[in-house]
């Protein structure tokens, strides 16, 4: 199984506070890994380091075998900007706060990056965008602006926007935390369908039932460290670590 994402001994500090204390994580092709843990445990930071939105102080990072940061004794040594951008093109990200571009219609949100970043011909990008909108159940909303969409619809457009760049893996940062239960179901169904198609995904979530049903592996993060990880059903139904157990029982 080819390694899609490799994170080695990631240490991330904000000032004196160590948010990640040497976290290692690897995702193989088609693997779905869910990161769970209490607020402030560092799970969002872990995802942001993986998405190259935060720089780790120490550790190594690679995407499909291409190193973005080398793990050296002097700390994490990041590749030059152009190489990082090339790594960025290999993944897509879905934010808790959607971050659709408000001045663009749903369709433009999906075509702008392919046209201007990938230099795809506009008609090709639009055909692909329509296909993706249909796939997330929003074929009739291509002309709508983000303010005209509900939260769940926004998140579905956001997933489609990430897919429009044809990434090899997707990162989700609490994709349903801002949504009502029904919209949550819609978004989770899409993620489940992507999993079935073999998309590699790293999902930070509070939805334990979803993590259990969709993730191959669950990683429990607390206080910047991986406390427990393993098969989703095993970690969630029968946690071995007392901290995981405590978290899961209060969570339910």
């Amino acid at each position: 199984m080819a390694e899609i994402l490799g994170m080695q001994n990631i240490v991330k500090r904000f000032g004196a506070r160590e948010v990640l204390k040497g976290v290692s994580l690897a995702l193989g092709e088609g693997e779905v890994v869910s990161v769970i843990g209490p607020s402030g445990s560092g799970k969002s930071t872990l995802l942001r380091v993986a998405a190259l939105l935060e720089r780790a102080e120490e550790g190594g990072l690679c995407y499909l075998g291409e190193a973005a940061a080398a793990n050296t004794p002097q700390g994490a040594r990041y590749a030059p900007r152009a190489a990082l951008r090339a790594c960025t093109m290999r993944f897509g990200m879905v934010f808790q706060s959607f971050e659709l571009f408000p001045h663009m219609s749903a369709l433009e949100n999906l075509t702008n990056a392919p046209v201007h970043v990938k230099k795809l011909p506009r008609d090709e990008a639009e055909a692909k965008a329509r296909e993706l909108l249909a796939r997330v159940g929003l074929a009739d909303r291509e002309g709508s602006y983000p303010y005209e969409l509900s939260g769940g619809e926004k998140q579905r457009v956001c997933i489609a926007r990430a897919l429009a760049m044809e990434p090899k893996m997707l990162f989700f940062d609490e994709p349903t935390s801002a949504l009502d239960p029904e919209s949550t179901r819609g978004v989770l169904d899409i993620i489940r369908a992507l999993a079935a198609e073999g998309m590699t995904m790293l999902v930070v979530t509070h939805e334990m039932r979803f993590a259990r049903a969709v993730a191959d592996r669950v990683v429990f993060l607390e206080d910047g460290e991986i406390v427990e990880q393993g098969l989703a059903a095993q970690v969630i139904d029968d946690p071995q670590n007392p901290r995981t157990r405590a978290f899961l029982t209060t969570g339910l």
Partner: protein, 216 residues
């Protein structure tokens, strides 16, 4: 003096005012952008000079700045001032002054765009420049239109300060005619000129705002 002659003279002066107005806008609007970026830079060497510049330009009278720009070359550098430099001096002083105000408006606009917008762009592969020009700037333009309209309206009224170095703009004519004729009429006409010009500016900016009202 016949009413028509007076209007003609004022109209001629108005052309100079509008020339100052347009030149200032054309120069200050782009000039303010690097100034705003420097002001927001993470490097002190860029941030501090920009902050000092803005503080000075906003903290001293525009009329004083016009005098400095006009007489400075002679007093400071010994360069003989050509008479035709007058109008240029006014335009340079206005552009330098308004750029400081615009820069702060830009900064407020840019900082009001959620950081997540730039992050989303980064993850989609946009370069920093692409993210700014395609994602951030269009949203900034919409947000800063109301304060920019304020400045656009203040600017035409400020052009009357050009009289400080004897540039014959509209208000200079109005005062001359008023004192020669011992009449309020030229001043009333000047007021009308300003008002009509500003009504047009406000209308234009309103149209612009409406064009950008297609999203929230």
């Amino acid at each position: 003096m016949a009413f028509g002659t007076m209007l003609l003279q004022l109209g001629g002066g108005m052309l100079v005012s509008v020339l100052i107005y347009v030149s200032t806008a054309v120069l200050a609007v782009p000039l303010a952008l690097p100034l705003a970026f420097a002001r927001m830079s993470k490097y002190r060497a860029l941030r501090l000079p920009s902050a000092a510049y803005i503080s000075f330009m906003r903290g001293t009278p525009l009329m004083l700045q016009i005098l400095v720009v006009y007489f400075g070359p002679w007093y400071l550098l010994g360069i003989r001032i050509d008479f035709s430099y007058k109008l240029y001096a006014v335009i340079i002083a206005f552009a330098l002054n308004y750029a400081a105000y615009f820069a702060e408006i830009y900064r407020a606009g840019i900082e009001s765009i959620p950081i997540g917008q730039r992050e989303a762009a980064q993850v989609l592969g946009y370069t920093k420049a692409q993210a700014f020009f395609r994602i951030v700037m269009p949203q900034v333009v919409k947000r800063i239109l109301p304060p920019m309209t304020n400045e656009a309206i203040t600017l035409i009224k400020d052009t009357s300060l050009a009289f400080a170095i004897g540039v014959m703009e509209m208000f200079t004519y109005a005062r001359q005619i008023a004192s020669a004729q011992k009449s309020m009429l030229p001043l009333a006409a000047a007021a009308a000129f300003y008002y009509i010009f500003n009504a047009a500016v406000a209308w234009l900016m309103g149209r612009f705002e409406k064009r950008l009202a297609y999203y929230r």
